[in-house]
């Protein structure tokens, strides 16, 4: 019995060491060869694995296409994919690994906190980071020191862009002047959008006649809706997630409130139709990064290729990942060199990059100035109405 125990203990240790040696060896091998190495650092397991996996899928699809078309500057791109377990400390760990492996740029992670954790390492090593989905303003700009983080570039629009575009659309195009706002008090995303919407809408000359809040766990919204309706607004702005929005719209229509209801990218889910009912969603609008209904060739080809490779419709994260990869390829081409610092320079000067999620240029805070899609729901189907550019 004793022998067994010793053998088993040894086995476990050997297994651990063997893995260590095996993986270490792989990493070393890839350091050679005539390829451009790009770090791909995403949440592939853990609580936000769905975001990270979609981004990674989009990126790998794009690199595959780029390599099939001859690569960049005559070299193939070699993505080094690593999983950060949805943990900030792992994300930083991976960033250190990328530095020692000599990557020219790092793509990811998806969530803001993880990007911020890896940032010091990569800034010190002067390696540019492209964050496909980090929406927090502090990711690229430090409010305290008023300094731009030179090596971090964001590919998604920041939240205030969405509320700005929606405010412009409602005031200028729909011509509605009196609004009501309903936000999820427990969610910074929702509260933030509500606040910036109010700011933009009142600046344009509109009036917010009612503001109501709810909490994430609420399921009955009739008290708030009654109070809002009594103030006679022309529309209701509900920047929240689809699970609450679905119930809110359903209950509003049941009460006979047929006002237009507006929202943001948190609405984008097939579940919304299930929850609210297709008929109830008529006269509802929301802002998003892109629309699968967009007839442009670029978008339709992307969707076809993605569906072929992964057997599923790409979500916004996949589209952002796809754009991130192409943006990097364009920057390398413009730089004429795969040196990290030259890529950083090229990224700062990117103008009108045509991506699936809209035309992109950077402002001085490394935030993309990008078109926002306005989508209208008709009998449960998403229809792209207009693409509008926010002002920075």
């Amino acid at each position: 019995m004793k022998k067994w125990v010793k053998v088993a203990a040894l086995l476990v240790v050997v297994l651990a060491l063997g893995l260590a040696a095996g993986c270490g060896g792989n990493a070393q091998k890839s350091a050679e060869g005539d390829t451009i190495k790009v770090g791909v650092n995403f949440e592939l397991s853990g609580d936000v694995a769905t975001y990270g996996t979609s981004c990674k899928n989009g990126i790998l699809l794009a690199f595959e296409e780029i390599n099939a078309n001859g690569g960049v500057l005559g070299k193939k791109i070699e993505p080094l994919v690593q999983d950060n377990k949805s943990q900030n400390r792992e994300a930083r760990n991976i960033a250190e690994r990328f530095v020692s492996e000599g990557v020219v740029a790092v793509l990811g992670p998806a969530v803001s906190g993880a990007v911020q954790t890896e940032e010091p390492v990569l800034t010190a090593a002067k390696i540019p980071v492209l964050a496909p989905a980090a929406t927090a303003p502090e990711v690229t700009y430090d409010e305290k020191t008023k300094k731009v983080k030179d090596f971090i570039f964001r590919v998604c629009i920041i939240d205030p862009d969405q509320s700005q575009v929606m405010a412009n659309y409602i005031y200028d195009v729909l011509g509605l002047k009196n609004g009501a706002i309903m936000v999820d008090k427990n969610n910074d995303y929702s509260v933030g959008l509500g606040e910036t919407f109010k700011e933009y809408f009142t600046k344009k000359g509109g009036k917010i006649v009612a503001e109501e809040g709810f909490v994430s766990t609420d399921t009955a919204f009739k008290p708030q809706l009654t109070s809002i309706y009594s103030k006679k607004p022309d529309f209701i702005y509900v920047p929240a997630y689809y699970n609450q929005v679905g119930l809110i719209i359903k209950q509003a229509r049941e009460m006979g409130i047929d006002l237009p209801i507006m929202g943001a990218d948190g609405w984008d889910s097939p579940k919304l139709v299930e929850l609210a009912g297709a008929d109830n969603l008529n006269n509802c609008y929301f802002t998003n990064h892109y629309s699968v209904e967009d007839p442009s060739d670029l978008i339709q080809n992307f969707i076809k290729a993605y569906e072929k490779k992964y057997n599923t419709t790409p979500d916004a994260f996949a589209a952002l990942g796809y754009d991130t990869a192409y943006l990097l390829a364009k920057a390398i081409e413009q730089a004429g060199s795969a040196e990290p610092e030259k890529i950083q320079q090229a990224l700062e000067n990117i103008e009108d990059f045509e991506g699936v999620t809209g035309k992109l240029s950077y402002d001085e805070k490394h935030n993309p100035i990008k078109e926002v899609s306005i989508i209208k729901l008709e009998n449960g189907k998403q229809k792209l109405i207009k693409k509008m550019q926010p002002k920075h």
Partner: protein, 324 residues
């Protein structure tokens, strides 16, 4: 003669540690050890403190606490407020972080340590979640989006001495009469009480020391990673530490060190294979649970004495049970 022998072993240990310290310091400053390994080295250090302090509560005192991430969060956030928000020096942050965690440990420990087994586990689990949710709702520390701009003040000497001093503190505590009392509580609380041991006092004492050291780990974490987010301190963190303790051996201090090193390094090397990562991790755990349920070291310690008799049978050490 005996005295000389005693000092000799202390001297040998000090020499070995000093050599290790200097070698790594040289390796870092000369660039011989790459940034990737430095990160992992620091993470191993932080994990050793976490595992050893959890072992003091779960292994040596025989409680089952699941609130370690909570104490770490308290230490991390309170120290970060000192340096980032108030701009005060780092040593003060260490003291405040440890004291805050210890105080929280005392407040949580006094009522809950009257509970036993499963009930204590549930109560401490609840505590850990409460800390996380409360932090998420305090705007002063950044709420859900996190506390940023913490100065990066952690370096190799700080990590090294924190680990050595923490292990020394726990070892000396276990070898003291207080530690013996804790062990007696673990072995049989009724018998311990009959012998005049104030069992609640010793449980709370071990709990508070464990919490303070978890707080220290939090301080180091905050000032190395420079950003804190409540979601990092979820139950999964406690679970990771618990696995280190279990793999190393519940009730073995050197076991905790071994466990922390193995789990941290294994986790780092599995980053490249996300599909199999959790599977391999789980297989490792299952194997160790089947063949070595008491952990790699059981309740034994690696000491100089044992190393001298390498190849022989491990013999009587601190904290070993008479019959197993």
């Amino acid at each position: 003669m005996d005295n000389l022998k005693k000092y000799l072993s202390t001297i040998i240990i000090c020499l070995v540690l000093a050599t290790f310290f200097v070698a790594v310091q040289w390796g870092i400053s000369s660039g011989f050890i790459s940034g990737y390994w430095v990160t992992n080295l620091y993470l191993v250090g932080i994990n050793i403190i976490l595992a050893a302090s959890l072992n003091l509560i779960n292994g040596f005192t025989g409680e089952f606490s699941l609130g370690h991430a909570g104490f770490m969060a308290v230490g991390a956030y309170s120290s970060a407020v000192i340096t980032a928000n108030l701009g005060l020096p780092f040593p003060l942050a260490v003291i405040v972080g440890m004291l805050a965690a210890a105080l929280t440990g005392l407040l949580v420990g006094l009522p809950t340590l009257r509970l036993r087994g499963d009930y204590l586990a549930i109560a401490t689990l609840g505590f850990g979640e409460i800390v996380r949710v409360v932090l998420m709702n305090i705007d002063y520390v950044g709420g859900a989006s996190g506390l940023m701009g913490i100065p990066a003040l952690v370096n190799w000497p700080i990590i090294f001495f924190s680990v050595v001093l923490s292990l020394l503190l726990i070892r000396n505590f276990i070898c003291s009469s207080h530690g013996r009392a804790c062990l007696s509580v673990r072995e049989n609380d009724l018998a311990a009480q009959m012998m005049g041991v104030n069992i609640t006092y010793y449980r709370v004492l071990a709990f508070v020391i464990g919490a303070a050291l978890a707080g220290l780990a939090g301080v180091l974490y905050a000032h190395y990673y420079t950003i804190l987010q409540p979601r990092e301190f979820s139950f999964m963190l406690t679970f990771d530490v618990l696995v280190m303790v279990m793999v190393g051996g519940l009730g073995s201090l050197t076991g905790s060190v071994v466990g922390a090193v193995i789990i941290t390094i294994a986790s780092a090397f599995l980053q490249a294979i996300p599909e199999l990562r959790m599977v391999i991790y789980a297989v490792l755990l299952i194997l160790s649970a089947i063949f070595r349920p008491q952990g790699l070291l059981g309740e034994k310690e690696v000491t100089l004495n044992n190393l001298q008799k390498l190849g022989g049978v491990f013999n009587g050490t601190v904290g070993s049970k008479q019959a197993h």
